[in-house]
Amino acid sequence: MTWLLKLYPRVWQRRYGAEVADLLAGRGFSLAVAVDLVAGAIDVRLHPSATLAAATAATHEKDTTMSGRIASLVCAPAIGSKVSPADQWKAGGITIGMTIVLALIWMGVHVRIGDNPYVDSMSVMTYMFPIVFSMRYTYLKGRPASVQAILIGGMTLFIVAIMLAAGWITARM
């Protein structure tokens, strides 16, 4: 029945494949075990962050070098594994609330200044900033405050720089 392990993602197979194959060794075909393996494969496919978190935890135990730590940060689960329903509400509130506030501010500026390539390009910030700021409660949850500040501040500045560049290019077209 080890052929069923091919249903699992490679990263999972590398980590647990041999162990599970060992568990299955010597067993004849069992419908219950086959169904269990297929359900397990579906679960792993639906929740890849759980496997990634396990692999990352293992990497982190072994590798204490700076490159290893950076790799563990980059390979961290896409969504913080400890995001609670309260965090989801906070993130949703920030996304919706900030979008409304920034859209109103942008509309006010647009009415006062009128058509302007820089103002037009800044319209993007009304939905991009809220997403970036809500990350504090999702992707960046559990990270040190300094890391959150650097990443959120860095992304904010990066978006502003891109929008200013877009406005500058548009103004010269």
Binding site: D22, V33, G40, S49, A53, A54
Partner: protein, 108 residues
Amino acid sequence: MARQDDELDDFGRFAEPALLILISLADGAKHGYAMTDDIEQVAGVRFGPGTLYGAITRLEGRGLIQRLESDDRRNPYKLTALGEKALRARLASLQAIARVGQRRLASA
């Protein structure tokens, strides 16, 4: 009242297997095969490999258990300090619930 035993809360259908794995590892490191046998003896259920490793994946990802390196294909797992704390908290919570249930049954 704030709960201290929320480590296994979002394990979904893997919550029970995860708890039994933690209980199984409480008396020492075990590999998957030994865990399956031990859980069957303790709780009378035999988890399939998909369920067992679904729970192991989550427990390892949370840092509640740790895989020990081995030359064998069978890597043993041990309870971490965090895992021990989570297990103690969950068992205390279950004990409290059981006490309330028994008290209510006694007075019924």
